[in-house]
């Protein structure tokens, strides 16, 4: 019995090798990079749109002559499914580096816990990896082969308040004086708000805290919370639910109480608040005017790209994840041009020393690509998107905005 089981397993392993070898023996002279994202499980949709973004970039690069410094060799994308768990993501990463030693770079993996697990493998394989994940931990481990293009979680929390004050001033000419918070108890929300509440941060910005409520998800009744918000009359309102069901309840109540559609400037955090998925679950009318602070989005000057993406993916608008994947492939292309050799160490070194304000830089807020010694993009900025006419549009900063912010002028 035992030996039979072993034989069975050996057979499985052997056939796996055979199949994966045949699957990938394509054009011999292409330069290979990897995309490792969840393509199955609860996050599959985000992985799918990232795949669309990356494949678009590959096509655009190859249509314009491939990698010029390598005599026009084409760039090829190998796709790996990070699945629905840290274990699957690690397995996929290990398989990727074991079976494809010729990869020169990789991008992924959407969820920061997956990115952490995958980069533990790519770091040991000395394979450069680009990621859009926010977590500070990703670039806080002293690794040399991981590069983070988004503003990290801590930086987002630090920058949020100045950005919102700037937005309010540019939109209405008035600096708000009263701020309120309603958030769930998940660590992401807590971590985002914490730096704003510490020390004299609010006072230094001329703000007084009028309401601060934390709820434990799931929310059963949003009315008491929203009532407190209405009673305290904030001029700036941070709303940080994580679950779609909680967001729906809160937004419905805000509208019911006459605080919706921009009447009360309501700001959230993260790309989920601008995801097409949200529109499928929450009445578009209730979303109108809601803002979110994000690391990347479709911005001014990307109209053609946005149009092509919509056609290919069937998605209604360009969000943070596909545009990042698109830009990451271009960063790898640029690094290959700089390195002049299809070698992962040279590509990593090129990314480390890169300092560009054109080319792929325009796909990332701040419009400049250079990394610090941790692998964090130094010039990473944030965008504010706002739901207008059933679509989240970039409204801040001005250089990226495709619409004016709706803000009550008083």
């Amino acid at each position: 019995m035992t030996s039979r089981k072993l034989a069975h397993m050996a057979l499985l392993i052997a056939s796996a090798t055979l199949i994966s070898v045949t699957a990938h023996s394509q054009t011999g002279d292409s330069v290979k990079m990897g995309l490792i994202v969840p393509l199955s499980g609860p996050w599959a949709r985000q992985g799918q749109v990232m795949r669309v973004g990356a494949e678009m970039a590959i096509e655009h690069i190859n249509e314009t002559g491939g990698i010029h410094s390598l005599g026009g060799r084409p760039l090829e994308l190998l796709v790996f499914d990070a699945g629905d768990s840290v274990e699957r993501a690690s397995n996929a990463a290990q398989r990727m580096v074991a079976e494809h030693p010729d990869l020169i770079g990789v991008t992924g993996s959407y969820l920061s816990s997956f990115t952490l697990a995958v980069s533990e493998v790519t770091e040991r394989a000395e394979l450069p990896m680009l990621t859009l994940s926010y977590s500070d931990l990703i670039t806080g481990r002293g690794f040399n082969y991981i590069f983070q293009t988004s503003a990290t979680g801590v930086k987002q929390a630090q920058d949020a308040l100045p950005i919102l004050m700037g937005l309010a001033e540019s939109a209405s000419g008035i600096r708000p004086k009263r701020i309120g918070f309603v958030m769930d108890s998940t660590a992401a929300s807590v971590a985002f708000v914490k730096p704003m509440l510490e020390g004299n941060t609010l006072a230094d910005n001329g703000l007084s805290l009028v309401v601060n409520e934390t709820f434990t998800p799931p929310l059963s009744n949003a009315a008491p919370l929203v009532q407190r918000v209405r009673a305290s009359q904030p001029e700036l309102f941070l709303l940080l639910p994580t679950a779609v069901s909680d967001a729906k309840l809160l937004l419905e109540k805000l509208n019911e109480f006459g605080l919706g559609k921009g009447a009360l400037p309501t700001i959230s955090n993260g790309s989920a608040m601008g995801d097409p998925d949200l529109k499928a679950n929450v009445n578009a009318e209730f979303l109108e005017g809601v803002m979110s602070i994000v690391a990347n989005w479709g911005v001014r000057g990307e109209e053609a790209l946005s149009q092509e993406y919509k056609q290919r993916s069937g998605e209604p608008w360009l969000t943070q994840n596909p545009i990042c994947a698109y830009g990451h492939v271009w960063i790898i292309k640029t690094a290959l041009e700089m390195a002049g050799t299809a070698d992962k160490h040279a590509v990593a070194e090129a990314i480390r020393t890169m300092d560009i304000s054109d080319g792929p830089a325009r796909y990332f807020p701040g419009n400049r690509i250079r990394f610090d010694e941790h692998g964090r993009r130094i010039d990473a900025e944030l965008l504010v998107v706002q739901w207008q006419d059933g679509e989240p549009k970039t409204v801040y900063p001005e250089y990226a905005a495709i619409a004016d912010p709706i803000w009550p002028s008083r």
């Binding site: 019995m1 069975h8 392993i13 499980g41 790996f80 690690s90 290990q94 079976e99 816990s113 770091e123």
Partner: protein
């Protein structure tokens, strides 16, 4: 599982480990080494689940609690105090054990589905606690100067295969040890029928606590090792539903209640899942989950008890008849050896005074008083609902009386646990017999002997004597699931006898038997009486009873209607109208 030839597992375990190690040495690909490591993690996790749920039948949906605590401890102790996993994994096992003990002492108040659902709550609660603590993502810091000292072998994943094999062997040895000894058999008795186990003298709570403590230790340790291999721990990867489910799946798939089940399950399912991921994820993402599910459903349909039992049954059917020849010693001899009991001067073995138990407005047992004389056969009769079985439950401690006193061999036993009462020499059988079908007759009876036996060998001797006494010695090795109803009743009787009771409560042991079978069983009961065992018997077959008993107590509506010799009682007009009926009077 509990073969007479108990040592034949060891060569198999060693062969498996050797082959696995050899395969690891031959393969030169870190991905396959990782999959082989993860196979071992889930095999050990399955064994941990099996140790509690497989043997005792208490299904746990919450093993992720122990696994996750171990994983988080290993990561956090290295971050905070620079502890090496070589040290922190054993400590993680201790933490798992402590968690098991704590969770067990709370949750064992519940049984069956309620226990399973309550267990589900612990990892869910811990998941939120660790999120709240801000441990969304923690990683093991990379150590570059002395990686081996910190168990960091990610450049040679093969080392993890060997460490994992070491943990697996330890766990398999522990599981085998438990299977072969009193521990495992007590758990199996609990699985069979917790009430019967308790009445047979097994301290069910103590054994369950030991099981969940050990199980928690294994899960905590392997959770720590898993963290070392993965390097990243998140609340879902540590406490998620998938973790508990995976432990349960490998065990159910491979076979529950055997050391090989989880190993077979993990060796089959983990590589299958990995292969499906590698083969289909790129082109048809998501299909791997569907195929995986189909494979599991297919096996469950073909082998509902798991692959191991399917294979075992297959070979057993083809093999020789397991009925051993062997010559039973003479029953008289056995009887003499079994009846070596403590002697008491008091001619009354049990005094019951004013015993009452009410369920709401129904007074099931109402101020019942009677004595049981040493050495007699006392018949307890009365119409259905008279309170006979309730009275038995009060006597052996399964139900606590509202008031009254029971003095057994000079000791007040009201309020004592059934297993303690059993240990004092009060045995009983149940109306409904539920043997563990995969256990042999001998093993069924051994469970009853543990209450008196000092070790496994003595328990076996005592069980063999009891089987001799009821005439089942020649069938000792037969599997309980294959024997007749009459034999099952004898097994139950033998199990009660194996604990060497001085007072035996028999609850309708003649029910469903033919005339000739009743006569044969009656002879055996009479012989027990001649050995000095006092017997109280509930029975409806009056023809048998009048021939068997020395004295009757008649219960009606929870009270003693009358008591006396068979001839007195059967002529009592009250008894005739309440129970025997006019027809009896006419025939008599």
């Amino acid at each position: 599982m509990l073969q007479p030839n108990k040592h034949r597992h060891w060569p198999w375990i060693m062969a498996f480990v050797g082959a696995y190690a050899l395969l690891s040495l031959v393969i030169d690909n870190d991905y396959y080494q990782r999959v082989m490591t993860i196979v071992l993690v889930w095999a050990v996790m399955g064994l941990s689940w099996n140790l509690l749920s497989g043997y005792s039948g208490l299904v746990s949906f919450g093993h992720a609690a122990f696994f996750g605590l171990g994983g988080y401890f290993v990561v956090l102790s290295q971050i905070a105090w620079q502890w090496s996993p070589w040290l922190s994994i054993p400590v993680a096992a201790l933490i798992g054990a402590a968690a098991g003990l704590a969770i067990g002492s709370i949750t064992f108040r519940l049984r069956g589905h309620y226990f399973a659902l309550a267990m589900l709550a612990y990892p869910l609660a811990l998941l939120y606690v660790f999120e709240w603590l801000g441990y969304q993502e923690v990683t093991i810091p990379r150590v570059t100067d002395a990686p081996a000292a910190y168990m960091q072998f990610h450049d040679q994943m093969r080392v993890y295969v060997f460490i994992g094999l070491g943990i697996l062997v330890l766990t398999m040895m522990l599981s085998r040890f438990i299977e072969e000894h009193r521990f495992g058999k007590s758990l199996l008795a609990i699985k069979q029928d917790e009430t019967a186990a308790e009445a047979s003298g097994i301290n069910t709570r103590a054994w369950k606590l030991r099981a969940i403590t050990l199980s928690g230790a294994i899960a905590g340790g392997i959770g720590g090792f898993y963290a070392v291999v993965q390097l990243v721990v998140t609340p879902p990867s540590a406490f998620g539903m998938l973790v508990s489910a995976q432990a349960l799946t490998v065990a159910m798939f491979g076979g529950v209640g055997t050391v090989w089940g989880p190993v077979i399950g993990a060796v089959t399912l983990v590589p299958l899942s990995a292969w499906l991921d590698a083969r289909f994820a790129q082109d048809l993402p998501g299909i791997q989950g569907v195929l995986y599910g189909v494979a599991i459903v297919g096996v469950v349909l073909l082998a509902p008890e798991g692959i191991f039992w399917r294979i075992k049954d297959h070979f057993k059917r083809r093999g020789i008849d397991p009925t051993p020849g062997g010559q039973g010693s003479t029953q008289l001899d056995a009887a003499q050896r079994l009846s070596t009991q403590q002697t008491y001067d008091d001619p009354i073995i049990m005094r019951v005074r004013d015993l009452s138990k009410a369920y709401g407005g129904l007074r099931a047992v109402d101020a019942v008083s009677f004595d049981v004389n040493r050495g007699e056969i006392l018949g307890l009769i009365g119409p259905n609902g008279a309170g006979k079985t309730t009275l038995f439950n009060l006597l052996n401690g399964l139900t606590k009386p509202d008031e009254g006193s029971i003095v057994f061999n000079g000791t007040e036993i009201v309020g004592a646990e059934p297993n303690k009462i059993c240990a004092q020499g009060l045995g009983r059988t149940f109306q409904v017999v539920k043997p563990f079908r995969r256990m042999s007759i001998l093993e069924n009876v051994i469970i009853g002997a543990y209450v008196r036996a000092r070790d496994d060998a003595e328990a076996r001797t005592m069980a063999e004597l009891a089987l001799d006494l009821v005439g089942l010695a020649d069938d000792a090795q037969r599997i309980a699931g294959t024997i007749s109803n009459e034999q099952l009743r004898l097994v139950e009787l033998a199990r009660a006898l194996a604990g060497r009771p001085s007072l035996l409560l028999l609850d309708e042991i003649f029910a469903g038997l033919s005339h000739s079978e009743v006569d044969a069983l009656m002879e055996r009961v009479k012989r027990l009486s001649t050995l000095g065992i006092t017997i109280v018997i509930i029975e409806h077959t009056m023809q048998a009873m009048v021939k068997l008993v020395d004295r009757f107590i008649v219960l009606d509506h929870g009270s003693v209607l009358t008591q006396g010799t068979p001839s007195e009682v059967t002529k009592n007009p009250e008894v005739i109208s309440a129970y025997l009926g006019k027809k009896w009077a006419e025939n008599a």
